[in-house]
Amino acid sequence: MIMGECQVTTETKTFEPKIAAFLCNWCSYAGADLAGVGRFQYPATIRTIRVPCSGRINPLYILKAMANGADGVLISGCHPGDCHYMSGNYVARRKFALIDSLLKYVGLEEGRVSFSWVSAAEGVRFAEVVKGVTERVTALGPNNGVFKVQDGGGTNE
Amino acid sequence: MEQNPYLPITMKLIKNLCETEDKLINTFTLEFLSKEDEENFKYMPGQFAELSAYGAGEAPFGIATSPTEPGIIKFSVAKVGCVSNALHLMEEGTMVGVRGPMGNYYPMEEFKGKNLVIIGGGFAFTTLRSMAVYMLDEKHRADYGDITVIYGARNPGLLLYKEELAEWETNPNINLVTTIDRPAEGWTKRVGFIPTITEEVAPSSVNTYAVVCGPPAMIKYTLPVLEKLGFPPERIYTSLEMRMKCGLGICGRCNIGPKYVCKDGPVFSMAQLKELPSEY
């Protein structure tokens, strides 16, 4: 299965998506770390942005990532109940549900923006999530511009 | 076609010097890259320029150097926003953009043969320094009478151009009075707010012009003092600050009544300001 995927990647070598990954410091970032330490392979498509908590994620981060040309966005925090700050991810969960729903409503393709919970112990799963997200974003192709600002209109600080 | 006034010339930041103890004000020394650029950048004390930190944007700052200092221009800038932060962080050797010189300048011609009292507070001393240096230049010194500089800051650490001030202390061509708001350890000079000190040390208003720059509160309380000392509004000058973008009198935000501070100012006499609405 993994071999097969690799072949797919080689064939479509022309497009390697760039995925902005917002990972919570306590679980998902540690999960990513564990994936690295454990040498669980996953595609080098994500650009990690560590945030203190998934509750810290502002919807604008997601929109901005796409405006600046990210082909996909991955957001990951602690599993519900495991939040380092007790309820940050519960609060985030409501936000995420609405963001996900609105983005699809305005016509953003399913799979462009993904949400997941990955704990610090789930190194393998983190790799799986990234693989899955990468596959779906690769299948969608480059950011088609629903939010991508044309002609270098992006702004970074 | 004439020059595109929106295109900056490129200059090299050769020195990025922290001026004050609170580390909020830096002086940037910029070097002209060509003789031609320098030729085209003929300015007078009181003018300003739009300084570009590429990646952050552009903002207007008063030119702190005098045209008598060739090859370079300097700006002393407080860290307040996007552009000034980027400038503060900038490494020496970086290329920046400069548009200018812009605006009007202190009426150096009109000042000829007159005594000058220059009153500055905080970091609003930049274009005043330019003017003082201009008049102290050997080519110009004879044109002007007595020069008194009253310069104050909250504490000694916040005074700009400390080395130069030290030099002026002993220079017979200029009478420097520095003051700080509250007593501080090691400070042996004057203590007190500028209006009070002005009242104490200002020269006679006869045949004298006053130029005042500083925070609004300082100006507000200094003006009555000058009035009391007999300075008529036509002989009191100040330089105004406004939010500016184009610097060309077009973009529409820096106006006071029908006057654009960027083009018709920034230097105004109190007599001129009295004719304008108090919207600044």
Partner: protein, 338 residues
């Protein structure tokens, strides 16, 4: 003299090869000026466009320069690129507004090359208003629904033909290719006369407003005028003479551009200083600025009122703050004589 629309359309289509032609078209946002390739795309029967044609001389978002940073070095590129264009179907109010903008973008010291390159390379084909909207008040602003001021060529719609007046040398040069002008019939002449003598029903009196406003900066009139204003930019963006802009930077990695975008005096952040001080932090001050700028400051600086009576601000205001009523209000203020 007149030309049939059929003939005119043929010349129009031919000109489209050399010129970018901007003309009113009907689309999702209503009637607006857009680039067209053929006369058949042009909306024939319209009162006026929803947004003024000023955006073709002064776009809402325009690159001034671009740059590339490499290490400590930077290279700058001027982004001024302009082709020849024709603005077709410009109403008298908007044509007059361009004359006013001309004064803004050139002052005693500077000329704005971005505006003037476009301006100098464009020909304005004006079109008289056969129908007048109830919010139009151009007749009060020394314009009329059929005034040709500001147009290079001026047309009056006669149904299946246009009455043609060539106003400027620029217009003459463009018209050189059009030979097929014929005389108007008596009937058509009568129609032209009717259109030319038409006046807007809505009127304001601006005869003394500038002098009045000279004395009104501190008037209590401003204390309540602004209350219902929401401080949005709808009126300014819809205004053919409003020209305030912002300059900002758009950055992508080590490359970027400096752009100018429309801005408006109604926005509180417009005048906010870096220090936090804001000379026009109150709506009152901003509305006073809007009126003063249009009816007083602009007159002092440029000799004309910066309002052409197109009525777009009236139509676009979400709270119905009607500039005609504000003008009336100024006229009705009793100055306190001291």
């Amino acid at each position: 003299m007149k030309i049939t629309k059929e003939k005119f359309g043929q010349s129009f289509d031919a000109l489209a090869a050399d010129y970018q032609i901007i003309a009113p078209v009907s689309d999702a946002g209503g009637v607006n000026y857009k680039a067209v390739k053929s006369f058949s795309e042009v909306k024939q029967d319209y009162l006026n466009s929803k947004l003024p044609p000023k955006s073709f001389l002064f776009p809402q978002h325009e690159k001034l320069l671009s740059y590339k940073k490499e290490g400590k070095d930077v290279t700058i590129k001027n982004e001024l690129k302009v082709g020849k264009s024709i603005l077709f179907g410009v109403r008298p109010c908007d044509a007059k507004a361009m004359l006013l903008l001309d004064k803004v973008f050139k002052n005693d010291e500077y000329t704005d090359p971005y505006y003037y390159e476009r301006r100098d390379n464009s020909v304005i084909i004006g079109l008289a208003c056969n129908k007048i909207s109830p919010t139009c008040f151009c007749s009060s602003m020394s314009i009329s629904p059929a005034s040709s001021e500001g147009s290079d060529i001026f047309l009056i719609d006669l149904g299946d033909s246009y009455q043609v007046e060539v106003i400027t040398e620029k217009g003459k040069a463009l018209m050189a290719g059009l030979e097929e002008l014929v005389e108007l019939s008596a009937e058509e002449q009568a129609l032209v006369d009717t259109i030319k003598s038409a006046q807007t029903a809505s009127k304001v009196d601006v005869s003394t407003i500038t002098a009045k406003l000279d004395k009104m900066f501190d008037s209590p009139f401003w204390d309540t005028l602004h209350e219902k204003c929401l401080s949005c930019n709808a009126c300014s963006f819809a205004c053919p003479t409003c020209h305030c802009f912002d300059i900002s930077e758009e950055v992508h990695k080590n490359e970027g551009s400096r752009v100018r975008t429309w801005d408006a005096c109604m926005a509180p952040l417009f005048t906010l200083h870096g220090s936090g001080h804001n000379p026009r932090d109150k709506k009152k001050a901003r509305w006073r600025q809007r009126m003063m700028h249009k009816f007083n400051y602009f007159v002092h600086n440029n000799g004309d009122i910066a309002c052409v009576g197109c009525g777009r601000c009236i139509k676009s205001c979400p709270v119905n703050l009607d500039i005609r009523q504000v003008i009336d209000g100024v006229n009705n203020v009793e100055l306190v004589v001291d």
